[in-house]
Symmetry: D3
Subunit: 337 residues, 6 copies
């Protein structure tokens, strides 16, 4: 009986230009579907867990196609609500070398933005669940999104389910003040916090530091404060040195209340960078839910994230054994015949 993980969020149609073309050049879009929490559910199914995704999509062929994409990769979609006005979209222009990737979100008014908590039977959804994961995106898109996220977190905690939140602060969606206020409220119900940044109002000494510049020692300080204030069991963050749109170096840190662990670093040549953070989150959840300690779970997460960079689309189709091999250090890329 595989572990059951429920995630809540939005699934969008992604429209990306082929062959490194810019938006102004393209005559077609490759399409796939993704969204932070949907990506987590799919990756967990991929590793053999029972991933359940809840959201709301319009009752048309585009909404159906999003559901079909999730089903294709094994996600349980039975609790997805249907209705509302439109499927959220995002347009992606993949970058190269010093040209950054461009994302144009077109998600205003999407079905999930006015989904009501009453459309989801949390009792049934969380029946037998082991983990609930969501992010700071849905609360950011609308007040109903905030209410829905809060309701889901409360329902999960009421059932004694472990919860995780990927902060995912997007400054175009809300102000820092609003984010801080809402996330502070949500964090009361969260066991593992991922990707903390300045949003929650933590500082090192006097400075509102850019967390990506932090030294391990600093992380421990900040994470310690966060743990103290919110009672998080784990705090983790993916780290990224972006040399160019083609080459990144990634790693991660995790703090379990006593030790700050920093993972190995991977130099990745990028095929598709989107969803790499979700791959880290899902790897982390997979590790912890299957009994790894924090360090091993973080290593699993960052290896999964490294592999995601080599796979087109938002979702991670690296297999369990591929991730495990990479954790062991086998990254030579030799042909597997």
């Amino acid at each position: 009986m595989p572990k059951k993980v429920v995630t809540l969020g939005e699934i969008m149609m992604r429209l990306s230009t082929p062959d490194h073309k810019r938006f102004v050049q393209t005559e077609s879009f490759d399409i796939t579907y993704g969204g932070g929490e949907a990506n987590v559910a799919a990756a967990l199914c991929n590793y053999g867990l029972n991933g359940v995704f809840i959201t709301k999509v319009p009752d048309n062929a585009l909404g159906q196609s999003a559901i079909n994409h999730l089903r294709r990769y094994g996600v349980d979609t039975q609790f997805i609500a249907r209705g509302g006005k439109r499927l959220g979209l995002y347009f992606l222009e993949p970058g190269a070398s010093m040209r950054a990737s461009q994302v144009i979100y077109d998600r205003a008014g999407s079905s999930i933005t006015d989904a009501d908590a009453s459309e989801f039977d949390f009792d049934k959804i969380f029946e037998g669940a082991d983990w609930f994961h969501t992010s700071g995106i849905t609360p950011a898109i609308s007040d109903k999104g905030t209410a829905l996220t809060l309701a889901a977190l409360k329902a999960a905690k009421a059932k004694g389910i472990t919860t995780s939140l990927d902060l995912n602060y997007r400054k175009k969606l809300w102000t820092a003040d609003k984010a801080r206020e809402v996330l502070t409220q949500l964090c009361q119900y969260v066991d593992m916090c991922i990707g903390p940044d300045a949003t929650l109002g933590f500082h090192i000494g006097d400075t509102d530091v850019n967390l990506t510049d932090l030294k391990p020692k600093d992380y421990k300080t900040v994470f310690g404060h966060m743990r103290e204030k919110y009672g998080f069991k784990y705090i983790a963050s993916g780290l990224r040195e972006s040399h160019s749109a083609s080459d990144n170096r990634i790693s991660a840190v995790i703090y379990d209340g006593s030790t700050l662990y920093q993972t190995k670093q991977y130099d990745v040549r990028i095929v598709d960078r989107v969803g790499a953070g979700d791959s880290f989150a899902s790897g982390l959840i997979y590790g912890l839910i299957t009994g790894m300690n924090a360090a091993d779970a973080a290593e699993f997460g960052v290896a999964a994230s490294a592999l995601k960079h080599t796979i087109p689309g938002d979702m991670n189709h690296a297999t369990l054994s591929e991730v495990e091999e990479l954790v062991k250090g086998n990254g030579s890329g030799k042909i597997q015949r």
Copy 2:
């Protein structure tokens, strides 16, 4: 010095499935750009006139791409306003045989829906113009759309420019009552009315007839009433017998106040049916603006429309000489070496 025709409306990105695929099957979309009045402007440029299109598009790469598409085909885009939230979209699943084509509009909240008349310098736009064309779509999408259309029609009439309106009643955009009210108001400023249907409240005897079932005699009666009430100089309508999504028979009628003329019929095997009505409208305008009589202009329009069915996309890329040849009866499709 070519004649100058100004058109006002929305330009949308069109995303269509390739290779006869259904929405639930596709992994890519072919993209092009279109919209009734934009299609008219492009076709007129194609015939050598000076087509000017006015609209509002978002100030991002997608809005720019729509403008680029218009420029590519010669449309003067200098008066297009930039700003607003998003580019209108529509998704197209081309049908085949007895499977109908499906269109999913995703145009709510597009930039044109909250464009203000003050964003357009009509004095400059209409300087030296010979014709102004618009349709019943923009008034239907928002109150600001109605106001904008009305302002444009008034400005055109004030300058003594001939005006045309393609009624294009879309029942998903507004109610029949609202449509009737608004269109009645707009028609005061219209010289040529295209595609009249039940919207304007005309009846034959006691029945609100389906205009596609009308006999020529009936058209004359209805068109006569319309002419009387609104003072239209010309009233025209494309006719279509849809045998299947692959095969249609098309023709048209036009009334100039004295004679009702019915054009030749064309049996078309369909490559892409979208924009065929706009091709008729633009052919008609081309004919009248270059001095043809109503009958000849309608023949030109319906021949242009027939050719449009053989060309992918919303816009008509049939050349002037191809339309003229087809009017003359040369439709054998022999290879031109």
Copy 3:
């Protein structure tokens, strides 16, 4: 609670040439997945039923991809066995006009050919099921295939489940004698027989007629004999006049023991002819399981089959309402905006 239908068979990867190319011209294959009984399961899911498909696929990425395809379209794949040597393939070169489509099967040694009945827990599989459907293909491919089919039919009948068998005689897979022997045995457990042909040894008068030449009266005679001998509740057959690889006329006959009903005829312009027979079978099952009489079910089946011809791939993605509309006579193919 939707009706549950179980089907048993093979799912193959289909590799087809794009753009009307011949095999000797192509540099790529479009791929999809299909197989008679898998197609039936998918179509039934499409109409809202609970379709369960059982088969065996290899434990590699190709087998997984076949499962993913089924999941995408809603099929319950939990009982599919994994293992064996390879995924069955078939290569398709779509024809046009007088050039016939070519199929090269490459299914020898596929996983299903040596699947054992013991690999399937029929008790669990048939729990709550309303219908079981299979065909004459699996019994034809190997002795184990025969044994598996027989075991499944027996298990279904033991549970009181309605059963159907699509004879689907393929002369390249077995001899007529062998087919007759095996099918005669299987038919003892079948409630509805589809696509009867000379296989079962019926004759009209002295002649082993080609069933496609039969007159309705003759069908009634033959179907009457079959019913008498095997106790079928329904016997149905799709009919096809193949004018060319591009244009066919289709209809169907069904016999319920008293009346022979012949459906409307549809002239179809073909996008993809493969799977049209499975569409008829699934439409028929849908009709009967939802309470239609034989005639209505056959009309539903043949309308579904007609729409299948307009959709690429083996599986039918026409929606329930599209089929219903076509049954009502609405086949004009007008754009649905």
Copy 4:
């Protein structure tokens, strides 16, 4: 030991727009290679004969690609000369319905236009050959082309090889007067003349009739005159009724000095019309060289030509047995499993 047929002409790269696009819409070209006499050589190889093609191509990767295309389909390319300035090109925009296909030739200055007879070792080329075929195209493109064609025909006749000439009059390449003068000279060395038209100066009564309007009786008269004047053994012509760019009706006539035979008619739905005439020529040659009488050879030729319309590209990839089946009347297009 298969019969050996030598053909002489140009092979061009063909660049065609995909998906029914017009030139002004396309962002890519599908490429293949073709040319009247090259197509004949390839078709004959396809039927099992030894086809040898002679031409001159530039010594670059494009010339090599043209040769590779010929080799791929079995043509003996060992005698092709290398050098000159460029590979001839032609751009193709396939038509549809009443929109005619457009061809833009870009062959000026191609390598074959200044090929010298001395670059070809006719003694070796014609060693063991049974037939030599060429057309009126090469003589039309340059004086050196005329000289080369004449030299080849003379060399073939000197060896006692049967010769055929497809007149293929192209008014853009030369004047009618020049054509008449040159072709009259060439015809002295020709056994079978294909596609005769007004070029050679024949008239019926007083009128320079359009040969496509001729009645069989008239053909006999004209062909009789031609036979008398040039001593042709056979005169044949393909006939075409072009209903549209999508649908044609084809047949052919052949005259053997006593009887004028008219073949069956085929209604073809067109995938690719280019090279249909060359398919007729190659079918005719195949028939005659393998011992059929004129009527049977013409039936083989027209059936081959019909099948060509269903195959993309210039060359005919219908198999021998497919042509034979169609000659027998089997054109139902049923799937061949």
Copy 5:
């Protein structure tokens, strides 16, 4: 009122193999349009200037497509002459790693090669213009090309317009002697010289050095001589270290008569290298025309050139702000959401 820049040259259709294929492997070509001076005009439009391109293209659909490509990206094409025999083409096989990209030019006899200066109304063309740019390519292709370039330069100078010339010496088009003679003549009318090489006859000490090996000090010497002889206001040159077809290091030098400035270096991973030099030229012109000093203009130019390497096609679609950001040092390639 944006600055107006006129450029003169050839626009060719570019046909490139997709997916790293070699010419002998491809079955399709991706097409775009480009040419040194056309690329400069398009890039300047992209930065908000008024780019006007003059050339001559054939009066067919291919010539129209080239014009449409220019219009799409905002170039003013109203002064382009129509006529002549053919559109110039070039075939591109993009390299990878140690396999060099291959270019096959097929531009002989193109329309621009026999364009006459009288076909261009320079008075009107240069009305209000701020800059005129051309290159050493057009003079190299024909004597009429030389005459046309000279006439344009003279007309520009007569109007007091700043002029620039990109030497672009192509040894396949003319001999070094002929190049030196013609370019020496043209340089009398040039304010800024780009890409100087051995063509103009300058030497350091005794050696006709390969300029790419020069040290900054040497550049200053050579550029000083050039300045002295021709009176150039600016002399600039892009520098390139080609590690492989996939990775290059680029920078540039510029000399304003007093200082030799060398820009930053960029390591670029190449998507498409063609047009990188034109991007440098257009960036330089943009910088100088908008008031930057030589050093800043060169930095802008080389940053623009770096970005061009990441964009498919000949033309640079990097935005003004992207170039500015890169100049500031922001080349991390992080996703822009």
Copy 6:
């Protein structure tokens, strides 16, 4: 008269996912054809030799397509036997960065596996031949494959033809014991052995070392033992450091009985890694057969192999001059105009 080289092996259809997609993501396969010995024959034709390939393919359109692929690239296919059950296939999922490429072989029961030596007329095949090359793959796939390989080697030696064997040990095809037994037998007839590994039972000291870890000194020892035991004239091996699926460093060693020569190293950015070993083998053969010494031949081989990594497909389309240039050190990848 070019040298004649005969090779024996299997040619498979290769089906690879496009655009870095994983198997579970793809909706199409790019196809090409390849196989170790076929790749050698094609590369040798590419360098101007007469390459003859012998195998057996099924008598259907897929077998024909494989032959056509060989013919396209100049391989003499006249001795290929037709018949048997199916064409061998392999599915390729190209890797990237730390994600390894995946190969799924589907070659069981292919035509070559039950080809009989009697189907090949070795007398005729080896007439005038200079070299015979095969590998350890065909012997591994079936006992008939072993017998066929042995018969061919014996026939070649009997004619005094130089022979080479690429060991190519594939542990999925046979056990090490079986491999050792069969290969030991075959090696009696081999002049040059390529790619030696542990298969043949050689050890350094006590350890069954992984040959890729060997130092040059060790190679000499091992190769010396091999030479002693089997009488090989040359022993060579390609070396590869796999940094990732995107970047490899390659070189090679060769031993001629006196000197162990190690080639230059090349850092390659990988487009397609498959067939790189065959490129080394064919380069080596080309070098030796045209009179180079062992060191030069190995340099030619490894340069050819380096270039292969930049070319899609199994076969090497680098030209002779490209390889020669790279050997000379010209690997800058500058555009060749």
